[in-house]
């Protein structure tokens, strides 16, 4: 069965399908909570859903389900809590690792947490929290948050994180020490457009079979790194615009990536209002528009975690909009169908075979 989890500003919806053509939708789960972070651990005997929710009244938490959302479990203790001088506002990212019990969470305010019990209890990664740059990290419109967490698939000591604004940071020692990793990424809104840190990175992605190659959507600018983030070069040529939020890897083809361009910072719509996913077959050297089944008059946007792929063959690609529509492709983006509409703003989608 195929599972598509849809996080919105007012709850979680779960779509299931046997053939990725006909979908059944359930929800809202956790109604009236923002769902910015979802992970689906399909490696377990019983697939496990991990969901970060945040209620404007009652605060943030992490809930889990091992029966595909029929029931939910939440510990009495706060799964993620700052030890002293801050309070958790939102969970932006839940990242699985090769070890099923080790899960990372990226949060607002900008911090990284690590769980060694499958997401039930997290501990602050002190090395990043105490980084001397932290007091200079800024808040993008969405807040100051670690929104991207990329554990290295081969080396548990290596992680890459990204934030708006602050940029990309890497650790090679399991989180004890971190270095900014933004060489070549432009921050056009700063007096020095190429600072050590302070970039407004929107999303970073990579394929697990090629962990040294990273793809990045910036606040204007689309980049690739072939040296684990040491340096970045533009791959924006061929796209209609270099603004956007999403960046997604194909699950099986390391050089295939997906992007959803928006016209500009000051014009946050698809160019000409034409809904289009762009795919590069060659790691960003060229791009093609994928529009078969997608509408015109699409005066909305796709947020940083609102596009994903599944793990099937051929690969499925999915995205949701701020206007509450969810589209899916069962043929790697060649054609699209609407899976859901009239939902609240979609801020996160995740898909898996379960």
């Amino acid at each position: 069965m195929h599972l598509l989890a849809i996080g919105t500003r007012k709850g979680l919806w779960l779509a299931t399908s046997e053939d990725r053509k006909s979908w059944s939708l359930s929800g809202p789960h956790h109604a009236m909570t923002e769902v910015y972070a979802i992970a689906i651990d399909a490696r377990r005997d019983r697939p496990k859903l991990l969901v970060g929710t945040s209620s404007s009244h009652f605060g943030p938490t992490v809930v889990t389900s091992d029966d595909l959302g029929a029931t939910w479990d939440e510990p009495d203790h706060a799964p993620i809590a700052f030890p002293e001088d801050a309070s958790l506002e939102r969970v932006w990212q839940l990242a699985l690792t090769p070890d099923p019990e080790v899960v990372y969470a990226g949060t607002q305010p900008s911090a990284l947490f690590r769980s060694e019990d499958g997401g039930r209890t997290f501990s602050l990664v002190e090395g990043l929290w105490k980084h001397p740059h932290r007091e200079q990290w800024g808040a993008g419109f969405g807040g100051q948050a670690i929104h991207t967490v990329l554990p290295d698939p081969d080396d548990p000591q290596r992680l890459t994180v990204a934030m708006s604004t602050g940029g990309v940071y890497r650790t090679f020692d399991g989180g004890a020490s971190w270095e900014a990793s933004n060489t070549g990424i432009k921050a056009y809104f700063l007096p020095d457009p190429y600072p050590e840190f302070g970039q407004c990175v929107h999303k970073v992605s990579r394929h697990p079979s090629r962990p040294e190659r990273l793809f990045l959507q910036n606040h204007h600018g689309v980049y690739r790194s072939d040296d684990s983030g040491e340096t970045w070069t533009s791959i924006a040529d061929g796209l209609p615009a270099d603004f956007g939020f999403a960046m997604v890897n194909h699950p099986h083809k390391p050089d295939v990536i997906y992007n959803f361009p928006l016209a500009a910072d000051g014009d946050r719509f698809p160019p000409e209002g034409k809904c289009a996913v762009y795919r590069s077959p060659d790691a960003g050297a060229s791009w093609e528009a994928l529009r078969n089944g997608l509408p015109d008059g699409f005066w909305t946007a796709v947020m940083r975690d609102a596009m994903c792929t599944d793990t099937a063959t051929p690969a499925g690609v999915y995205f949701g909009s701020r206007s509450g529509e969810v589209y899916g492709s069962a043929d790697e983006g060649e054609s699209w169908q609407k899976i859901a509409e009239h939902l609240p703003d979609v801020v996160c989608v995740r898909a898996a075979e379960v």
Binding site: M32, S55, S56, H57, F58, G59, T61, E74, D76, H77, A78, A81, F82, E84, A86, S87, L88
Partner: protein, 94 residues
Amino acid sequence: MRVLVLIPGPLRQTTGNQAKLEIDLPESATLGALLDHLATRYPLLDRRLRDERADLRRYVNFYVDGEECRRLSGSDTELTPNTEVQILPSVAGG
């Protein structure tokens, strides 16, 4: 002394569906002390009412005998015998 705590519907799953809690506290206990006491019995309720710094959540109101605690002394508001503390989510969101 005994005080009465009224739990709003959305939070009753954290109190075993109890809408009213009668709590015994030392004389002159504060609202904060009441919440500390509740935290030991109903930790999930406490997480909904306060963050990890024990700050009251911004959009949850605590009426102490009809007066919202932020117009009194917040968590330091002193309670008296038979005080009624009504917890109500504020009007917020869209």
